[in-house]
Amino acid sequence: MANKVKPRVKVPSSASAGEAITIKTLISHQMESGQRKDSDGNVIPRSIINRFTAEFNGQTVIDVVLAPAISTNPYFEFEAVVPESGDFTFTWYDDTGDVYTETKSVEVS
């Protein structure tokens, strides 16, 4: 399923300095909890995204540790302040070792 992982991020393209902006992120991922069993009764091994970070120009906005109790297609909504124009970098860390990143630019007027 890892090949289907696709991050989606919603960030306003412009903001005024110091304004709180709402960021919404979603990544398609099955978040296999490691609790489920297949039809033969074997436990399906855990495979989740275990960490998500959002940074703006290298400074942390939020750093989330995820447990299997986070739903399929992990969704996060939070608020950030942007002191100057720059780029948001969103990073998701998969149990498989894969890292998915997405960047969004914000213009501060």
């Binding site: 609790q35 989330v64 109790a69 909504e77 950030a80 302040v81």
Partner: protein
């Protein structure tokens, strides 16, 4: 030293395990852990945190939860009725506008959702809300 077949097999197995170990160590990921691990036994106050959750969740597979803890540096969410109670840890950085985050979580059944926040001064606060779940969300 002569190798018997058994010795060779054992050697092979341990070599394989040793080869796997560094990868596992590298992949060691932080878990949310238990509430006691987080607070270190410190007293936990009540209030100061708002959890926004539906009173009744029809589908336990995806329950929208929003937590707000003004002045917190770290917030952990727990679902005490889940097989693994830890849900998520939120750490707020210098550029977070508010100590607020929303996500969607799985709940195995009707239970309390607990949020524990570590405040900037090192104290701990907690809040909990009961959520009724019609269809549990942990499979099995």
């Amino acid at each position: 030293m002569t190798f018997t077949r058994r010795k060779l097999m054992a050697l092979g197995a341990s070599a394989a395990a040793a080869a796997l170990l560094p990868i596992r160590a590298f992949a060691a990921v932080e878990e949310v852990g238990a509430i006691a691990d987080f607070t270190g036994g410190a007293a936990v106050g009540e209030g100061g945190i708002t959890i926004d959750a539906p009173e009744i969740a029809e589908n336990g597979n995806t329950v929208p939860i929003s937590v707000s803890a003004p002045g917190a540096v770290e917030v952990r969410l727990y679902a005490d009725g889940n097989p693994l109670p830890g849900v998520a840890t939120f750490r707020f950085g210098p550029l977070s506008a508010s100590q607020t985050a929303s996500t969607r979580i799985r709940l195995a059944g009707s239970q309390n959702v607990v949020a524990v926040a570590k405040m900037a001064d090192g104290s701990f606060m907690q809040a909990s809300v009961p959520v009724k779940v019609t269809i549990g969300g942990c499979g099995g």
